[in-house]
Symmetry: C2
Subunit: 402 residues, 2 copies
């Protein structure tokens, strides 16, 4: 019998979770924005101007000359010891390097945390709205995601108490992004942080704190991390994507001993270890306090671009009943369209006028507010931002008139 005589299609039966996994809305939009001439206010791509290319070139030469074979060999799943030490030293509370787990971007941290803490149908709490990548990372473990009501400072503690659940249905953790949140750009105040950590400790609710943007403040640093206030009750996630470069895929977890060993085992199973070459490059670039000199230049750039966007919004949206916030740092701001208008309906009109954004609906675990949208002020230049906001205002007028 010849293979040609056999049924040609093998029946690939998918796991249940595959039905829940869908293409990232953002990545689909980003494909649209690759059209030449379009101004993208959609993606969360750091400005390439901020990438220290020369420093990475120097570090590449140094690492390969001094430590080439080790940099190219298999390595410990925990991560490169000097980088773990540098991270512990850099963080603003007492962190032991043994608590630091290097991850392949902070997206992997979300995957590992989901694997270790979420069963199918486990309750997990998120902000309203929340980071889309977190929802995507949690989805394969098939949890029940519950959105906690939030205001301009983040989660509302009373609603957290109402939604934490009990017994087997008690939430496994709350995922929270306190600084210059993706997507809203909002920051959790000192008072809200104190209340949240207090409530979580009373409730016995672990917190998963994601802090990719915390160093990108404009005028004053944000309040201390949640984890600094109760390290045994929190997992902290950090990233080098916004202060050095995302293309190296370097993030980290700081976890208490109660969960670190299982996260480490999940890491081994996921990709053995994060590339040792990349870890050494970042450790080399960080030597001599480079971040202390480099990060302020990113802050200055992003603050200017944010102000350009705010100025353009004030100018272009006059009379349109559009609302937006004023972030204290980060990469994004949050816009609310006039009553009755949907950001999803607006997007094609905007793309016709050569500007793109992300409809806010993508960031809600449930009950999306269709009027919201996210604007990034870091990828485009100030001139592009001004033109892009003008085009967005025109698109809103198009939709109102249609």
């Amino acid at each position: 019998m010849n293979l040609n005589d056999l049924p040609t299609s093998t029946p690939w039966r998918m796991a249940r979770r595959a039905a829940r996994m869908n293409p990232s809305v953002i990545r689909e939009i980003l494909k649209v924005t690759e059209k030449p001439g379009i101004i993208s206010l959609a993606g969360g791509l750091p400005s390439p101007k901020t990438f220290p290319v020369a420093e990475f070139a120097a570090a590449s030469a140094t690492v390969l000359a001094q430590d080439g074979p080790a940099a190219l060999q298999y390595a410990a799943s925990e991560g490169y010891a000097p980088l773990r030490q540098a991270i512990a030293d850099f963080l603003p509370w007492d962190v032991n390097p043994d608590q630091v787990l290097i991850t392949t971007g902070s997206q992997q941290a979300l995957d590992l945390i989901a694997k270790v803490l979420l069963d199918d149908s486990s309750r997990v709490l998120v902000e309203t709205p929340t980071y889309l990548g977190a929802l995507q990372a949690f989805t394969p473990m098939e949890p029940t995601v519950v959105a906690v009501d939030s205001d301009h400072e983040g989660v509302l503690v009373d609603d957290l108490r109402a939604k934490v659940g009990t017994g087997d249905d008690k939430a496994r953790f709350l995922y929270v992004l306190p600084n210059f949140q993706n997507p809203t750009g909002r920051t959790m105040s000192e008072a809200r942080r104190a209340a949240l950590v207090q409530a979580a400790a009373e409730l016995g609710l672990p917190l998963v704190e994601d802090n990719p943007y915390g160093d990108l403040w404009f005028d004053t640093p944000p309040p201390a991390p949640l984890t600094a206030r109760n390290p045994e009750g929190c997992i902290y996630m950090g990233s080098f994507s916004k202060v050095l470069a995302p293309g190296l895929r370097l993030g980290f977890i700081v976890a208490p001993q109660a969960v670190y060993p299982k996260l480490l085992q999940a890491k081994q199973a996921a990709d053995l270890h994060t590339p040792g070459y990349n870890q050494r490059l970042v450790a080399e670039v960080m030597k001599g306090g480079f971040l202390d000199r480099h990060v302020p230049t990113i802050r200055t750039l992003y603050k200017a671009q944010c102000e350009a966007m705010l100025t353009a919004l004030t100018r272009e949206m006059a009379g349109l009943d559009v609302q937006w916030n004023r972030p204290d740092g980060g990469m994004f701001l949050w816009v609310r369209l006039p009553a009755g208008m949907s950001a999803i309906d607006l997007l094609p009109k905007a793309v016709e006028r050569n500007v793109a954004f992300v409809p806010g609906a993508a960031f809600y675990a449930s009950d999306a507010d269709p009027r919201t949208l996210r604007l990034s002020f870091v990828t485009s230049t100030q001139e592009q931002i001004a033109a892009g906001i003008a085009a967005l205002a025109a698109a809103i007028r198009d939709l109102q008139g249609s």
Copy 2:
């Protein structure tokens, strides 16, 4: 109320799967082997002599000079297009670059495949014995792993038919490593490959073919991959870890359209994308046919080291009733101890004599043969191999005499 007044320990409730996740036996053994002076025949670490450090240094300079901002930016989850093309061109059957998904090492490929194809309690078939890292990658999805009886050529097709299951319990796939298998070093013959692909097609059983070692043949290339014989029924996994360097964590999947989109979504959720810098480095190093010149030097080295191990085994194990195989390539050979002897009992005796190996039991999904052990001939020098095998023989005598 002060935080200090609260219960200090947050109750971290783990997912069910966490109870099944355990430290890698091999990584624990590797820690023992870091003791100074020990000869490790345990780990699967490629010889650092084979790492093209100078080529990576040149490629690092070129990539950052010519394409620095793009190399350091976020990138497509599918992978870097020129690398996907180079992989498609390199493989010995007709592969479309659109079928290639770049992964963060081939370990991540296993994680993605498990996520997309395995539910809890799904039947999944493996060889006897099989790659430990695959068992670890599958475990978080809580499948039922069923070992198919195997001989010196790999899985026995009759036992595959007996164990494939029916209805909801039908196996989701067979995971198979046909070339110079980890851990045994065995190779699947042409006849067995043909019979296996035929049987899988008849049974409607997908195959997951892992081929990290296929280029490391000593005298003649292995038979064509299983996937080349039925691309729509197979997922193929490859790696640059053994032909260039493992520390870059670069592997890939070739998948049919029936599963590619879901693997891609799982990849997005897992780490967004594999480091773009690393992908460009490998694409740059591969230009001009570098692998065609480089890989033969690895083959020559490993063949000589394998022969050194075989010679030492013949000399040192004389009269000890120890059996071993003669691999046609790869990194490992497989040893069977005298009747009644356990490799796990032998390990501490061997470590006392400054040599380490991996007990075979680690590689069995069930019904381990306690007499087996894996030896790597690639990490140590020929002199260390000779001394290591002598020490191993002495340890066997120690255990026989005790």
